[in-house]
């Protein structure tokens, strides 16, 4: 039976009203077809492409063009982007605010990314902060956070969080455990601060819908940092903390039915335990036996868990 036939049956039986039938059947028949996602994808890729090209052009030609020829157009573009956003933004609300139009979010994103390009260029050329240059990252992050909250923009929030991570010395683009060990304490501090900030703002009722962005980024940074600590010789300190963090992530995901966090808890927890067990000298047979048995235990545990929670999401 097709979906349309079922809709017709539900209408006849009174399960749905006539106007609901008309609206939904138009979607099923594709009489109404949204290209919302496709237009968003074009805008997103357009912004990324433009900023990447701007950065590349500036890098290649800054010696020939001179500072003014680079700074003035960038400043004009940034100013125009922010002017557009401030002139059209709806009044601030702690709740989620719908964007005035499709391009609004991306114009703000463009302005923020270009601000990053300009600040980087200015510091490179003028050395205003010299060895303290990394405070540009902090300044950028603060501007991005303010913009994300004022304009209710998740892309800019992610930009702010990744820029703040860079200020802490973390590269979120690659979770390289060995590289992470060099900045482990910073990464742990970053993860904890971002999680606390996310929960604080959520409890204060400020943009509650931003919480998941905070938690996804911070949880991964925190757990990756702790896992890198477990892998080292003197891991006695990190092991219980890492296990506790994985357990809390798992429990929180289960409690609030956010199953991505359940998955993080299981995967990171398994890695932590495996590192600890496999650090002892073992033959191939024992290692492979470990993977078969431990994998089976996790699988059985998850089957029992999945039966308990049912198919929800």
């Amino acid at each position: 039976m097709t979906t349309l036939e079922r809709l017709e049956n539900w209408r006849r039986s009174g399960a749905i009203r006539e106007e609901q039938y008309k609206t939904i059947s138009a979607l099923v028949r594709k009489e109404r077809f949204s290209v919302f996602l496709e237009l968003n994808a074009l805008l997103y890729l357009g912004v990324l492409s433009f900023v990447a090209g701007a950065g590349w052009t500036v890098r290649t030609y800054f010696a020939h063009l001179g500072d003014a020829a680079i700074v003035i157009p960038l400043t004009i573009l940034i100013g125009a982007s922010f002017y557009y956003c401030f002139s059209r933004v709806k009044p601030y609300s702690n709740l989620q605010v719908e964007s005035p139009n499709l391009g609004f979010d991306y114009i703000l994103y463009l302005g923020c990314l270009l601000l990053g390009v300009e600040l980087g260029y200015l510091e490179t050329r003028l050395h205003l902060l010299n060895s303290q240059w990394d405070y540009y990252l902090l300044f950028s992050a603060l501007v991005f956070f303010a913009s994300a909250y004022r304009f209710d923009n998740r892309f800019v929030l992610s930009l702010a969080l990744s820029t703040l991570a860079a200020w802490f010395g973390i590269k979120t683009s690659r979770f390289e455990f060995f590289e992470l060990s060099a900045v482990r304490i910073s990464a742990i501090a970053y993860g904890v601060i971002v999680i606390i900030a996310g929960f604080f703002l959520q409890r204060a009722g400020i943009k509650k819908h931003f919480l998941e962005t905070y938690l996804h980024i911070a949880t991964n940074v925190l757990l990756a940092a702790l896992v890198s600590g477990v892998g080292e010789k003197a891991s006695g300190f990190y092991l219980p903390i890492a296990l506790a963090a994985a357990a809390i992530t798992f429990w929180g995901g289960l409690r609030y039915r956010r199953f991505a966090f359940v998955a993080y808890g299981i995967i990171y927890g398994y890695i932590i335990i495996s590192i600890q067990i496999l650090s002892a000298r073992m033959g191939d047979t024992l290692i492979l036996t470990y993977f078969v048995i431990s994998g089976a235990i996790v699988l059985l545990g998850m089957i029992l868990l999945a039966r308990r929670i049912g198919r929800t999401a």
Binding site: L4, F50, G53, W56, R59, L299
Partner: protein
């Protein structure tokens, strides 16, 4: 014969739709609950994230199990390896069937078992043909292609059908032919599948879980990728010989006729795909055609032999943003903000969830250098502030 009945597949399809309509405010919660009660099946499903974890651990156990057998049995001959692979494959397939009997549906476990079963039997068949290096690869790939189709028909996993198509198209690359013949043979494989999918005419609402739209979109993309000869060197730093036959002694040259044919096709394929996609309102085909158009815009300069400039990306960005804004305005200026049923408005809640997921993922593409790696004030200005998702406010970003 499918392990799941048509009615079960239809119930699951419609239950997912009802959930989506309810989340989008088209149905109220009581209506949604009562309709979903009518669509109950005894199949067990799980959340997408847990499904991925099930997939991972089932694969881990299976691979470790096969490796353990090999360590214990210590095979020396190819036939011994073949026996281990084929026996393990049969065991995995039997377990996948058992999991389905236990009413698991897209649970990760039965999926991983079925896929690994096909990988193992392909390795086993390749071992049987190990006397000839060339036929070893061909036999292995052919077995994988047949296995993928078997998974699709038995379990209904659409990605297995798409993977089978890709593996089939990889077979010509194992044969001793010229570059043009290989690419054309591979493109013909994709095209034959594309035509057969369109001919079957089964992309209607009634074929729940058929996945023919995904297969068709994959075939369009595959044909395009085979015929765009500038793609690999434009997007990746790939040496010219990378995609070519190991049996050729030197880096081959592209014939002029094939070069011109390729250039014509990189424009024709996206245009035809977009036209068909828009005509039938097939989202996957529209999306794939947009992706092909972008790739054409990126690679066209290479075909023309023009020098690439740093500002090309800026121009591309302006073109994309302008196109999006013009299309939105054009759609919105139509009656009720629509033209021929197309609208720029968000109709379903799932679109917002997808955008939120992309925004979170964008933080993973952090272009700026982290402060920890910079010990001195940087003096070399380097771009990167736009590849995505980062502020780039470093002296060396």
């Amino acid at each position: 014969m499918r392990v799941y009945s048509t009615l079960e597949e239809e119930n699951i399809r419609d239950r997912n739709l009802v959930r989506e309509w309810s989340a989008s405010g088209l149905l109220d919660s009581s209506q949604s609950a009562s309709i979903q009660a009518q669509l109950q099946t005894d199949l067990r499903q799980t959340n997408g994230f847990l499904r991925a974890v099930f997939w991972f651990f089932t694969s881990l156990i299976s691979i470790a199990g096969v490796a353990l057998s090999a360590v214990i049995l210590r095979p020396h001959e190819h036939t011994e390896w073949a026996v281990i692979f084929v026996t393990s494959s049969l065991a995995c397939w039997a377990l996948a069937e058992f999991a389905c009997r236990k009413r698991l549906y897209r649970y990760g476990i039965e999926e991983a078992l079925a896929v690994i079963s096909v990988v193992l039997v392909s390795l086993g068949v390749a071992q049987m043909f190990s006397g000839s290096a060339r036929w070893e690869d061909v036999a292995g790939l052919a077995m994988a292609a047949i296995g993928g189709i078997a998974i699709y028909y038995r379990f209904g996993f659409v990605y297995a059908a798409v993977a089978s198509m890709v593996v089939s198209a990889a077979i010509p690359f194992q044969l001793d032919m010229g570059i043009e013949e290989k690419r054309i043979a591979s493109a013909i494989v994709f095209t034959v599948i594309l035509v057969s999918v369109r001919q079957s005419g089964l992309q209607s609402d009634s074929s729940a879980g058929s996945g023919l739209a995904a297969t068709e979109a994959g075939a369009w993309l595959g044909t395009y990728l085979m015929l765009n000869i500038q793609l690999a060197t434009t997007l990746f730093v790939v040496p010219a010989w990378f995609f070519y036959s190991p049996y050729q002694s030197s880096t081959p040259q592209i014939a002029t006729w094939f070069f011109l044919f390729s250039w014509a096709m990189i424009w024709l394929l996206p245009a035809a795909g977009l036209w068909l996609g828009l005509a039938k309102k097939e989202r996957l085909l529209i999306d794939v055609s947009i992706a092909m158009t972008l790739l054409t815009l990126i690679t066209n300069k290479r075909y023309l032999g023009s020098a690439a400039h740093e500002w090309d990306l800026m121009i591309l960005g302006i073109v994309l943003m302008t196109a999006a804004i013009v299309i939105r305005r054009w759609l919105q200026s139509g009656p009720n903000g629509e033209r021929d049923g197309f609208t720029a408005l968000r109709l379903l809640r799932s679109d917002e969830r997808k955008l939120a997921a992309v925004s979170i993922a964008s933080s993973m593409m952090q272009p700026h250098a982290s402060s920890a790696k910079q010990t001195n004030t940087p003096h070399d200005f380097r771009e990167g502030g736009g590849s995505s998702g980062g502020g780039g406010a470093t002296g060396n970003f």
